[in-house]
């Protein structure tokens, strides 16, 4: 796992730092080059002026006409210096005062640039050239203090670095913003995926950048395929149930036939066998139809669906004049498949309807887990029966039809959802109490 944000941020930081460093070096070098070039040409002029003011007397001694020279050479440590070498003779500018320039004589016609440390430990640029004047070889060195240029350069470099750092920070901030902004659709998708899991969405349809739209399309396609498969297998199982139940119905009606009524042994076998077939078929087919865990196609809005189940049960058990007490938050939505939940609650509530005197209480609580309680005011079951009930297909009362199979199917559904099913005595109504615990958001853990 790595963060796009950090990757992009560090990439940008490194590349920008390298770019600024190169720029810093190039600009510094250019500025130094330009400044020295400018000084160099001035030194050249000074050198020529000195050559012009130089004269040799009859004793072949070199004399400089100081009036022709710039006054700056007279002021001590002015930063502008010269030194003339001819034969044994050396002439130094007054500005050098007691200092000297370490210059060698050059063969005539040669010129060179030197960097020396001059008076007061200041850096000097020295232009040395040699001429032939009145048949005397003359080497003239002219120097200028570079320290003000160094100062200006350092100043420039500081300012440059400072603004570079500011620009760098600004760019990184802008980049962070851009990255966040481009990642925002991803956050939206993450939320959408959670909503999908809860069953609030059927597919991902928020606008996304073109780079991730193939991914979203793929997710949507997979959701579609899963839904279609579930639907298809449910439909074909429904058809299978239909196809099997029709002949089974005909068979079970056969026991009313006059000819068979006369053979009680055959009638009994026919009745038991068709009933066993019906029950096993019911059980297996219902288990096969379960959606189980995973994003639900249709979520289960508890209050509404339980109310419609109650309408059905009231119609089915009209003679009992049932009294239902619902304690379910209006907005309780379970992220479980609607059909599975209807099957689960339908079976358990119908069981309660069979046993109750009149009152049935349904409670749904959404905390960390989903807790569903279905209580009745019937006779309830004793300790032994409660234990036996948890076994597969156990029937407590063989005369009340379908009792065992309903609870068994409910058990299958709860197993699919990794939930818990407990039987006990109702504290509120005194009868049977079924408590179901289903882990909330099971698919994300």
């Amino acid at each position: 796992m790595y963060s796009l944000q950090t990757r992009l941020g560090s990439g940008l930081f490194i590349s920008l730092t390298v770019a600024f460093l190169l720029l810093w070096l190039a600009t510094s070098a250019t500025i130094r080059y330009l400044a020295e070039n400018y000084i160099h040409s001035r030194l050249q002029h000074d050198s020529e002026t000195i050559l012009g003011s130089l004269d040799f007397n009859r004793q072949n001694l070199a004399i400089i006409d100081k009036s022709k020279l710039n006054i700056i050479f007279q002021r001590p440590f002015s930063g502008h210096y010269f030194k003339v070498l001819t034969g044994e003779q050396q002439i130094r500018s007054r500005s050098l005062w007691d200092q000297d320039l370490a210059i060698e004589t050059l063969p005539s016609g040669k010129k060179t640039n030197l960097h020396l440390i001059g008076p007061e430990q200041k850096p000097l640029l020295v232009y040395v050239s040699s001429y032939l004047k009145q048949n005397h070889p003359v080497t003239i060195a002219v120097a200028e203090d570079l320290s003000h240029i160094e100062l200006a350069l350092t100043d420039f470099q500081w300012k440059f670095s400072l603004s570079a750092i500011l620009v760098l920070l600004l760019l990184i901030l802008i980049q962070v913003y851009i990255v966040r902004d481009s990642i925002r659709p991803l956050n939206k998708i993450r939320e959408d995926l959670r909503a999908l899991e809860r069953g609030e969405l059927q597919s991902l349809d928020s606008p996304v950048p073109s780079e991730i739209s193939p991914l979203i399309k793929e997710i949507n396609r997979l959701i579609n395929i899963t839904n279609q498969r579930l639907q298809r297998s449910r439909n074909s199982l429904g058809d299978l149930a239909h196809a099997l139940k029709k002949p089974l119905t005909v068979l079970s009606q056969l026991s009313h036939d006059a000819a068979i009524q006369q053979r009680p042994d055959i009638k009994r076998t026919l009745d038991t066998q068709t009933r066993t077939m019906h029950q096993s078929m019911e059980r297996v087919l219902k288990r096969a139809r379960l959606a189980g865990e995973g994003p639900a196609v249709n979520y289960f809005s508890a209050h509404k669906e339980v109310s419609s189940l109650i309408d059905v049960l009231k119609a089915m058990y009209r003679e009992k004049n049932l009294d239902f007490v619902i304690n379910i938050p209006e907005d309780a939505v379970l992220s479980n498949d609607r059909e599975d939940m209807l099957e689960l609650l339908g079976n358990i509530m119908e069981n309660a309807c069979k046993w109750t005197q009149q009152k049935i209480a349904i409670t749904v609580q959404l905390n960390k887990d989903i807790l569903i309680l279905i209580e009745d005011d019937g006779a309830g079951a004793d300790e032994n029966d409660l234990n036996r009930l948890s076994e597969r297909g156990t029937r407590l009362d063989e005369t009340t039809e379908g009792h065992g199979i309903g609870l068994a199917i409910a058990k299958d559904i709860i197993e699919q959802y990794h939930g818990k099913l407990k039987f006990g005595r109702s504290e509120k109504l005194g009868g049977f109490c079924v408590s179901i615990t289903l882990p909330e958001n099971h698919s994300s853990t």
Binding site: G238, A241, H242, L244, K245, K246, P247, L248, T249, V250, L251, S252, Q253, L254, H256, D257, T274, H278, K286, R289, E305, S308, L309, D311, V312, A315, M316, R318, E319, R338, E339, L342, E343, L345, G346, N347
Partner: protein, 221 residues
């Protein structure tokens, strides 16, 4: 009582028709959704047994379109599709009761008769009017003085129809429509003969003749 059986399986039609007729219903059969919808709107049926998996038009669609057009015919869905979701959908579409296949014929008959009582605002169980008790299971009538008379099929159908619609004027043609199915020979003059026989059992005052209009079963006299 005239019953519309909507079912597409021939074997089941045969046994169901036999059992329902034995239980005192005049039975007509529709074996596809389109016929069923048309026949259900005829206003001659008292109750419908409706399968959901039908050719041409599904049972749920048929039921929905009846209810949409204001047809309040009592409907019992009889289907192999009996998941709770399908039950909920069935009741939402306007079913009055739901029986899953395979089923016991006794259960279906009990539910049909309970539904008929309900739709005629009569209590569940045997109907007691004044001094007459109609036993639907035995197809007999008990007068309060203790005498029990068993009834023939047609007598039972006629008396049940009269009792369930007590206090209403019932024309001869209406009575004919509701106690005979399509295949029977219908002769409205036969009705007079049956009324006469019922009067003989129950007493003359029980069924009043309104000349030119029909008969009324008197709840109190």
């Amino acid at each position: 009582m005239r019953l519309l059986l909507v079912e597409d399986d021939n074997n089941l039609i045969r046994t169901l028709r036999r059992d329902l007729q034995k239980a005192g219903y005049a039975v007509d059969v529709a074996d596809n959704g389109v016929d069923a919808e048309y026949m259900g709107d005829e206003k001659i049926y008292d109750i419908v047994v409706l399968d959901l998996g039908l050719p041409e038009r599904s049972g749920l669609e048929v039921l929905r379109s009846w209810r949409k057009s204001g047809n309040t015919l009592p409907v019992v869905i009889l289907t192999a599709r009996d998941s709770w979701q399908e039950r909920v959908d069935g009741f939402k579409a306007g079913a009055d009761d739901y029986v899953g296949k395979p089923f016991h014929i006794e259960e279906l008959i009990a539910r049909l008769s309970a539904l008929l009582h309900r739709s005629h605002q009569k209590p569940a169980g045997s109907i007691e009017l004044n001094r007459i008790i109609l036993n639907e299971e035995q197809q007999s009538v008990t007068i309060r003085d203790g005498e029990t008379h068993s009834l023939t099929g047609t007598e039972f159908r006629l008396l049940r129809y009269l009792i369930l619609n007590d206090g209403k004027i019932l024309s001869k043609s209406r009575l004919t429509e509701h106690i005979y199915d399509f295949d029977s020979d219908k002769d409205s003059n036969v009705i007079e003969a049956y009324i006469k026989r019922l009067r003989k059992i129950l007493g003359k005052e029980c069924i009043e003749t309104r000349r030119g209009q029909g008969y009324i079963f008197k709840a109190e006299f």
